[in-house]
Amino acid sequence: MDSTGVIIAFYVLAAMTIGSAVSVVVVRNMIHAVMGLIGTFAGLAGLYVTLSADFIAITQILIYIGAISILFLFAIVLTPQASRNNQESFLRFPALVLALLVAGVLIFVALDNTWNLSHAPDFPETASTIGELLLKTYVLPFEIASVLLLVAVVGSIVLVRPEPVEED
């Protein structure tokens, strides 16, 4: 993690991630907020690449940018005008204080702790190991996750489906 390229990439990507995240907070238009969210996701994908987590990075792009942001866009368009602004509620100041506190605590913990660091090189390739882990060690959570996805699919369809027209 010492090469100049990685350092530059980290700072650019971190700035992009945090900047986009801040823009999600401040912009007034929900669609712009989603654009900020997409920027955050993309920056995180880049950060994953610097951490040599290529599979996760690609999955991040595929799931978050390709699918979840679309869900957000759809939800915004399906709930017209009435609530398309991105205002804060009266909880703005307590939330700000709490968020700052949490950030402070987390950063303090991160800096103060001595981590049990390893000096292993970058992972040469992650996809096959992840696959093996998923289907050997973590096969039960894997199956549960697939059931969860099925439930989510069925649930969302049931929720949003228009009521069947009653026959007279």
Binding site: S3, T4, G5, N29, I31, H32, V34, M35, I38, D54, F55, I58, T59, I61, L62, I65, G66, A67, S69, I70, L73, F74, V77, E125, A127
Partner: protein, 418 residues
């Protein structure tokens, strides 16, 4: 490859990676190491951009001429010899036109649309192996990268359509998203077949596998290839699935409001996406830059581009031939027809690979058997499932009009046998 007489010297232009490698080697002697990285990425990106732009210009001309021939017309023939400079003239016209932004449009998003759509179209080529040494970034998750990058299109299209504040654009954007999301699943499943066979997601490995066994996955995965070609047509908005920009229905879909160079971006991104699909088909299904040993004599990138353009030509051909489907028919085709077939296909390929690996079968026998089984099973599956859904032979035959001499008679609902 390098075992032939030139042995990969810098003047060996059968692989453009050789001269670039020689250049980088020389730079490495005189400059710090990071300069090599920068130069290498600049050469790679610049080469891809240059190739993309030139190919687009060429194929704008080829598409117009070829479709004109299919339609008893001459096509562009005024600018330059045989109209060859017509794309250049078009590009100049687009550049010089005023880039209008509608007053009711969301300015920022409206400007972001063309850029967002152009980036993934170009980024796909980073993982495509144009030759043995001609890959910008041979990721070990290359296949996934193809799909993920194509997925960025979806929000870009939506933002472009929504920000135009135009009803046709919004309809087009909604249609595009419904299509893209449905067919992304088909794409993933279609690409899973080759990945299962080869056991790697690195595109270089896929090409190497096909070279090693002297076969194309084309012959082993016919169903997957068909599904992928169709899904590719959907993704690049080409006939018969150009629903998103159906010009007879919703004018130009999500880029109705875009003019000038912004429209040019969409236009070029569409071509690049088409090339990307063709490149993916070439690499995954048609042996990439190899041609059963001929790559020793012919430059590998010429083989690759030849295959790519041949595949792309299929899309042009379809555009000149086929009418357009309706959006619900296209959706039904994805979810009711292609999805079950592709799921079964994946299962079958997985089983075959398992049997091949577990048992002591010679490669030739195994691949021949797998190919035959997949071909016949796939054909049976497609026909059987179509019958099951009620689209078998005989259901969709053309009817002719009844002929009668009797004035005033009513033949509504008459027998269809004639």
């Amino acid at each position: 490859m390098t075992s032939f007489f030139l042995k990969g010297e810098w003047y060996d232009f059968r692989d453009l990676g050789n001269p670039v490698g020689g250049l980088l080697h020389d730079i490495d002697k005189i400059a710090p190491h990071w300069v090599v990285y920068v130069v290498a990425s600049l050469i790679g990106t610049g080469g891809i951009v240059l190739w993309g732009v030139l190919s687009c210009l060429a194929f704008i001309w080829i598409e117009r001429r070829v479709v004109a021939l299919m339609q008893n017309r001459k096509g562009p023939n005024r600018v330059g010899p045989a109209g060859l400079l017509q794309p250049v003239a078009d590009a100049l016209k687009l550049l010089m036109k005023e880039a209008i932004t509608p007053r009711a449009a969301d300015k920022i998003v409206f400007w972001a649309g063309p850029v967002l759509i152009f980036v993934p179209a170009l980024a796909v080529f980073a993982v495509i192996p144009f030759g043995p040494k001609m890959t910008l970034a041979d990721l070990n998750v290359g296949v996934l990268f193809l799909i993920a990058i194509a997925g960025i299109n979806t929000p870009a299209v939506f933002l472009a359509g929504w920000s135009s504040n135009n009803k046709y654009a919004l309809l087009g954007a909604m249609r595009t998203i419904a299509m893209l999301i449905s067919y992304e699943i088909i794409q993933v499943l279609a690409l899973l077949g080759p990945v299962l066979l080869v056991g790697s997601m690195r595109l270089g490995d896929l090409v190497g596998w096909q070279d090693h066994y002297n076969t194309w996955i084309f012959f082993i995965q016919p169903v997957g290839l068909m599904a992928y070609i169709f899904a590719g047509a959907v993704e690049t908005n080409r006939s018969p699935t150009d629903i998103a920009e159906a010009e007879s229905e919703i004018v130009a879909g999500y880029h109705t409001e875009y003019g000038g160079i912004k429209f040019g971006f969409f236009y070029q991104a569409e071509y690049l996406a088409g090339f990307a699909i063709a490149a993916a088909i070439t690499t995954l299904y048609m042996g990439g830059y190899t041609l059963w040993g001929a790559e020793k004599y012919i430059p590998s990138w010429i083989i690759f581009l030849g295959k790519l353009y041949t595949v792309f030509f299929i899309y042009i051909w379809a555009r000149g031939t086929l009418p357009r489907l309706r959006i619900d028919q296209l959706m039904a085709f994805a979810w009711k027809f292609l999805l079950p077939i592709m799921l079964v296909n994946t299962l079958v390929v997985g089983g075959e690979v398992l049997i091949w690996r577990e048992n002591d079968i010679s490669d030739v026998t195994a691949l021949t058997l797998i190919g035959l089984v997949n071909f016949f099973f796939g054909a049976a599956l497609v026909i059987g499932w179509a019958r099951f859904l009620g689209h078998g032979r005989g259901r969709q035959v053309g009817r002719r009009a009844l002929l009668t001499q009797e004035v005033g008679a009513v033949y509504f609902g008459a027998e269809t046998s004639s």
